[in-house]
Assembly symmetry: C2
Homo-oligomer: 209 residues x 2
Amino acid sequence: MGTAIAEHRPTGLRERKKARTREALVEAGMRLFGERGYQATTTEEIAASADVSQRTFFRYFGSKEELVLAAQEGMDELLYQAVRARPLQECALTAARNALRDQWELSDTAVMHAQGEALRLIDTNTDLLAAQLRYCHERQEQLAALLAERAGVDPATDPRPGLVAAVFFATVQNGHTAWCRSGRTDLKELVATMLDHLDQVGEAITTNW
Amino acid sequence: MGTAIAEHRPTGLRERKKARTREALVEAGMRLFGERGYQATTTEEIAASADVSQRTFFRYFGSKEELVLAAQEGMDELLYQAVRARPLQECALTAARNALRDQWELSDTAVMHAQGEALRLIDTNTDLLAAQLRYCHERQEQLAALLAERAGVDPATDPRPGLVAAVFFATVQNGHTAWCRSGRTDLKELVATMLDHLDQVGEAITTNW
DNA sequence: TGCCAAATGTCAGTGACTGACATACTCTCC
DNA sequence: GGAGAGTATGTCAGTCACTGACATTTGGCA
């Protein structure tokens, strides 16, 4: 079991070593961020704690923020696959919503836990939030392209795929902050909040309450 | 005429000087960004071009990105006022949509032009995009609070105000990127795109197309 | 074993941003 | 109009994220 992606079985010693170094950096970083806070931890300290040079840190991660965002990496591809697997009679937002649920059920518990830690950390620092939002913006465009392809419309002229993707990620992000703000730590509740918001958003914007 | 806010008439010499320095920094920064690009322009160059020290630059703007975002500053308050002025029988998203239209009609052409320049610049650099998205996130929370107050619901328990605010800004942002990507420079088209997307978003997410 | 390519370390440098302190300027009160 | 208070600015030193260049080590492979 595991992430169902990562077809790159670490065949040689070199690749195994690389994977270990990367994991050591993530582990050291998340631990230090938890202990001293994101801002108060330097990249040199993380590198030293993982027994590599600072230069090596930046060969694995393009920025300090990227280390935190690495936890969500790979989840996207899983989501897109899940969207592709949804039946075509489901409308775009419903398909994305159900794909989110499906993908979460398939995920490894360790990956889920790391995801939760990362999300809680993001809520403590505005630089991280900015990086996360930019990252979501990229994923949003990929989802828009996928939804356009799924429905057989031209994404260059039809704004609807882009709109659904924008609403989807905005709602998910909304669930994220709501979950963090509620002080809960149970990941089931995070997913439940996101799915609940996705269920409500259509009525919330079309009716007068 | 004028921004309708900015009740701070520059009464003394000191305040007039401050306003002039700030404007000189914005003007120098936007000019240099346009000539050499955002990344290739240093804060020292901007400061020198405005005849102040780099330290003074950072007393006016907390970061390099903030100088670009300064153009949108004040537009928020205008938007909130416009929302408050919309009749209560309009549902939340419609009120926000019409408020956006109203606010744009009231704005100064110079302010609008600066806004357009800033938006086009943001589209050229991912650091700026990240800063802009974080800024939108703050504005989104304020709009959510306003919508909750307007409808008389509790924003702590009812997710709908937050959802509408999230959808509103996501859609506006979507219009922004669509406008930039189309290569257009006419601000009327920017507003038209945003309003058009706001009109379409409800049907786009609730129907199967 | 020996060659090639990839991974890493070291070093010097850039640029955003900050705190501390001294100086110059504006405002106000008399 | 001048003294004192408060504010804006310049200067300087320093931190930290991040990068390019080059030398060194290390794993893959003939």
